[in-house]
């Protein structure tokens, strides 16, 4: 069983297999399950993601609080009706990431990747890169195994919980996972996947978890948007041969230690950051009343 990125990359490189294949073999061995069985389960997760993306970009999704919904759809319509500045691929990933998180905020069905609050990044990137790279269904499922392999390392060595490590642990992890998976799908090496993850995660370090009114909506939806765009940029950097001066495992370790020293007001308590701004507090009161109870 691989415990860190260094081990994961060396297992893949020595056996001349992909990161997704290392993850698949480990899962088969660990749980004595067949390859077919594992693929079927991941295929189901992929279908859930696809449905959430489609729902978010085509339907008028509104959260229970009314704080979020419809922005993914709005952006998707924008890139279809005019020439955007950032380009269609980039903004489509952003739109789909937001769409997924809007469905999540509306208590719709999603697949956590690695969490619900960060569930937009991986599918947003995957269902956009798909149009560019034209992968097979198997390659799309492998994208999720590669994401999972890197997420697995972060979860075991740092955290994927906003309450424990802030938003860097959620959207940050998702961004690194997606970046690494794009590299594999685009034909990069396992080491390049590790570089992409390091580069992506480095740019998410210190990100706090400060949900307005304690809801997974503001700023979560838009943080997923930027997670998706960061992931694609980081993948391109790695594919260009650019490396991270700080090795991936040390970036993960830094993320863990930053999370440990983050005050609890900035770890999913809804007490600090954007949640504590005058407008943030106003929303809190509007939704839950001055007693703090749901109205």
């Amino acid at each position: 069983m691989f415990r860190n990125v260094k081990e994961l990359v060396s297992i893949a490189t020595e056996a001349n297999i992909t990161v997704s294949e290392v993850m698949i073999r480990q899962e088969m061995e660990q749980y004595e399950r067949s390859r077919e069985d594992i693929f079927t389960q991941m295929d189901r997760n992929l279908t859930v993601m696809e449905k959430a993306v489609e729902r978010g970009i085509h339907e008028d999704v509104k959260s229970v609080s009314g704080l979020t919904g419809g922005d993914g759809k709005k952006l998707y319509e924008y890139i279809r009706s005019q020439d955007s500045l950032s380009g269609t691929l980039m903004l489509e990933a952003v739109a789909k990431a937001m769409a997924t998180n809007e469905v999540n905020a509306a208590m719709g069905t999603i697949c956590a990747t690695p969490t619900a609050g960060s569930a937009g990044v991986v599918p947003g990137v995957l269902f956009t890169i798909k149009n560019k790279l034209q992968p097979t269904r198997e390659q799309m499922i492998r994208f999720l195994f590669t994401s999972g392999a890197f997420g697995f390392i972060i979860a075991n060595n740092a955290s994927i919980s906003g309450a424990a490590g802030g938003c860097q642990a959620e959207v940050g992890s998702a961004t690194g996972m997606a970046a690494a998976a794009v590299v594999e799908m685009a034909g990069g090496t396992p080491q390049q996947s590790a570089e992409a993850m390091a580069i992506a995660l480095k740019n998410m370090l210190g990100l706090v978890c400060d949900p307005v009114a304690g809801l997974v909506e503001v700023p979560c939806v838009k943080r997923n948007a930027f997670g998706a765009s960061n992931a694609i940029v980081a993948a391109d950097l790695a594919l260009a041969g650019i490396t991270s001066r700080i090795p991936c495992d040390e970036v993960i370790d830094a993320m863990f230690r930053i999370g440990e020293t983050m005050p609890s007001t900035l770890r999913e308590t809804g007490e600090g950051g954007l949640a504590a701004t005058p407008t943030g507090r106003r929303y809190q009161e509007l939704i839950f009343g001055s007693t703090g109870k749901k109205v």
């Binding site: 189901r44 719709g108 999603i110 609050g117 569930a119 979860a155 809801l215 749901k294």
Partner: protein, 220 residues
């Protein structure tokens, strides 16, 4: 290693909005229901840390109750759990606790009816994964990811050996096992995680062994 499966990371499929506060909460509620083995007449949730601060916004309340009703993380009935519980006549209460706990997402679930009561402490560690830390005052570590049985027994020699011998007889492999007791010679608890599901007749056989009081099954 807290996380062992790729599906802990890519998954679970769930009703939003938060894997730790919604899916994890549903799973803790579901374990409580499976341990109690029937619909309770009342349930009280004591919430700590981030759970206490944000439980309504994250749907933690509906998820916990949904779990107690037997709904899994992806069950869309979760959103209506409070209404469903009310219709079934289950009394539900939430208490926000000030005390600091080791983990920021901690909940103590107390539930019961006229005959029985149960108390468990669960934590939601992220991505929908949970651990059960305490059951009726016994400290334990239960991931909820594997089929498991809980055996309440008298704290006497031979009790543990007889249970493991019975599992061996049916070729059931033990993946993780814990034994704890509150006082020497009194009530004790065995938690056994196994690789396969255990059939009911085997549980009955274990329950009929000397020194064994009660056997409960939990599985995914």
């Amino acid at each position: 290693m807290k996380y062992r499966s790729v599906f802990d990371i890519i998954g679970p499929v769930m009703i939003g909005p938060s894997s730790s506060h919604t899916a994890g909460a549903a799973r803790i509620g579901l374990v409580a229901r499976q341990l109690f083995q029937k619909q309770p007449a009342w349930v009280t949730f004591h919430l700590y840390g981030s759970f206490a601060k944000t439980y309504q916004g994250h749907g933690t309340d509906v998820a916990l109750v949904g779990g107690v009703l037997g709904f899994d993380t992806f069950d869309t009935r979760i959103t209506d759990a409070l209404t469903i519980a009310e219709k079934k006549g289950i009394k539900v209460a939430f208490c926000e606790e000030e005390a600091q706990t080791e983990h920021p997402n901690t909940v103590k679930v107390r539930l019961g009816d006229d005959d029985d009561q149960l108390e468990l402490v669960g934590i939601s560690i992220g991505g929908g994964k949970v651990e059960i830390k305490e059951l009726n005052g016994f400290a334990l570590r239960l991931s909820g990811n594997h089929p498991a049985i809980l055996v309440v027994h008298n704290d006497r020699y031979g009790a543990i050996a007889s249970v493991s011998a019975k599992l061996a007889q049916y070729e059931l492999n033990i993946g993780h096992m814990e034994v704890s007791r509150k006082e020497v010679g009194k009530e004790a608890l065995m938690v056994i995680e196994v690789d396969q599901n255990i059939e009911d007749h085997i549980l009955k056989e274990i329950e009929s062994l000397d020194q064994i009081r009660k056997v409960t099954k939990i599985h995914e």
